[in-house]
Symmetry: C2
Subunit: 352 residues, 2 copies
């Protein structure tokens, strides 16, 4: 029994509980929200948008990036991540007919997101808010909304709301393309399998690393981004995320033997695209930690591993982020920080 009382939970206990709750959170969302999400998808399909703009910040921006890959590969729709300041600060009058605007936010509380959503709607876009707060300003500003229904998130570092955003976006896009959401049923068990594997060895190994690179490609790129953000927020490590292709266009010069590189490879196409990157990292002698298929680990002699969650490539971001969350939490604790309360952060960040 911990000496901590309920009012002062042990460091990392909030984040730990929320990481562990993800199988139940996603299963619950599927049970309770699928019908509502399908209604929203029907409205969107009827509107037949030709372009999609996604607006978000922080962790939610990585969920938006995931949606961008899905929309492009599944529906062939050109997508962009919105630069909110062009709508809120530079006073643009955008031409947004035939455009779907998707605002993604855990709290739904950021003024610039609410304001840019209003501007988008006033200029012809169909607007949709994906939040964990159906009564929020952002949800109120949009024509349509999806409730990710993840329950209150008490840790400042977002975990369960991220995977709940990813699943809600997947369900929406799957319904839009005519699917029945069935594939999502494999996800909770896959996450549970990851949760049952310890990340303690890797956390110990990287206890004194002050720089970490994370690398993904295709569907694993949002995971590399979110993994880096979790490490920055909780362990204060200089974590830099790159797509494998962009890494080779310059930043690979700073890779050396002194700083670990965590490569996140989904099954399928993404894994193949990462082979030239793993080749280059091998040439410079970088220590690579692999989150991904054993076949890649074998081919490149990689022994530091963060799990091999087996799930369809398209759904793999919902599962592959979980070892990153656990690693960030354990590294923070090993360094004497409380990952539930990162220094200088509040749960709702207000930017304009």
């Amino acid at each position: 029994m911990s000496t901590q009382d309920a009012a002062h939970p042990a460091p990392g206990s909030l984040m730990g509980a929320e990481i562990a709750a993800q199988p139940q959170v996603l299963a619950g969302q599927l049970d309770r929200q699928l019908r509502a999400i399908r209604v929203v998808a029907e409205r969107v399909r009827d509107a037949d948008p030709r372009f999609v703009l996604l607006a978000a910040r922080g962790t939610s921006d990585h969920a938006a990036l995931y949606a961008k890959y899905l929309l492009e590969t599944e529906l062939g729709l050109p997508c962009g991540l919105a630069s909110m300041s062009t709508l809120t600060a530079y006073g643009t009058t955008p031409r947004l007919a035939d455009t779907l605007w998707v605002a993604v936010s855990q709290s739904g509380g950021s003024p610039d997101l609410a304001e840019s959503t209003r501007v988008a709607a006033a200029n012809g876009a169909l607007t949709l808010a994906v939040t964990n707060a159906p009564d929020s300003k952002v949800a109120a500003a949009a024509h349509l909304q999806v409730d990710i229904d993840a329950g209150p998130e008490l840790s400042v570092a977002a975990t369960k709301t991220y995977t709940a955003q990813l699943q809600a976006l997947w369900l929406l896009i799957d319904a839009w393309r005519g699917g029945d959401g069935r594939q999502a049923r494999q996800v909770p068990a896959a996450i549970q399998q990851v949760l049952d594997e310890s990340v303690a060895l890797v956390a110990t190994r990287y206890r004194f690393a002050d720089r970490v690179l994370t690398v993904g490609r295709g569907f694993s790129y949002p995971t590399a981004r979110e993994g880096a953000l979790k490490l920055m927020e909780t362990s204060y490590v200089a974590a830099q995320a790159f797509s494998g292709a962009d890494l080779l266009h310059g930043p690979v010069a700073m890779v050396d033997v002194h700083h670990p590189v965590i490569v996140c490879a989904p099954n399928g196409v993404g894994a193949e695209l990462l082979r030239p990157v793993l080749n280059r990292l091998g040439e410079v002698g970088a220590e690579v930690c692999l989150l991904g298929p054993s076949s890649l680990a074998d081919d490149f002699g990689i022994t530091t591993r963060l799990g091999d969650p087996v799930v369809d490539e398209q759904l793999s971001p919902l599962v592959q982020v979980v070892p990153f969350q656990a690693l960030a939490r354990e590294m923070a604790l090993a360094r004497g920080f409380d990952p539930d309360h990162p220094r200088g952060l509040r749960k709702v960040t207000e930017t304009r």
Copy 2:
């Protein structure tokens, strides 16, 4: 006289010459290419695209991001940065009618860029290549092309081709909106003014910094990104770039007194948006180096400066990147590296 001969120039001499050549390069482009760029702009305006996708990697990706801000603020067009892998690797059939596809590349040699440009054209997009290589694969793959006409770039780290890309994109978009390109005439003198100021004090101060944050907002965000890439490529420092808004959504937790933060603020709206960010950086005691208006430096008591180039906010990225280029070169030399030949990089990076 250096002991180096012509076949083995002194370290950093190529990059130094190319940084110094930028006023002449930009003036020459304006003289020689404005007419051709206006013809391309007319073709684009006649096609009246409703959406713009920009495809690029590395330094060129930052030029694409600049064009995104310009297109959004000046023409109100929704824009996206293309995820090339969705077109080349995941086998998508994109719906790109009414879409302008802009491929930006110095060498025009990357196979994924040429291939994705072909796929875009085959699926309804009007395609435009902006390169320094009119005979390249990427230029050949596009319907239209703009030659940035910067002359051969010998240093691996791109400098003059970056500002030449920015100016060519500005001229194109200015002509598209009906301008005559006149404002660009202020740029060469503004760059010369920056070149006349030494960055040696800052380079000395950051000689032993192994982590640097760069921060921008709005039009200065591409500069923060490109500045960070230059530092990574040449000095192997872990440079991380953030928009001021995104920094506050999480990464600010890792900011402390041990690592410098370079804030890049244009005149105008961008500077105002950075005030809350400078407030937060002050609260955590971060050392801030300001590239931007003296008024901001005075208000926040910032004494470490990288210049205050005075130029319209929209054109400021062409000028503000120059102190970053010079800083990256000097820091590399101070660390004993040759910025002309970063380890492990070739001039043309081929990614698929």
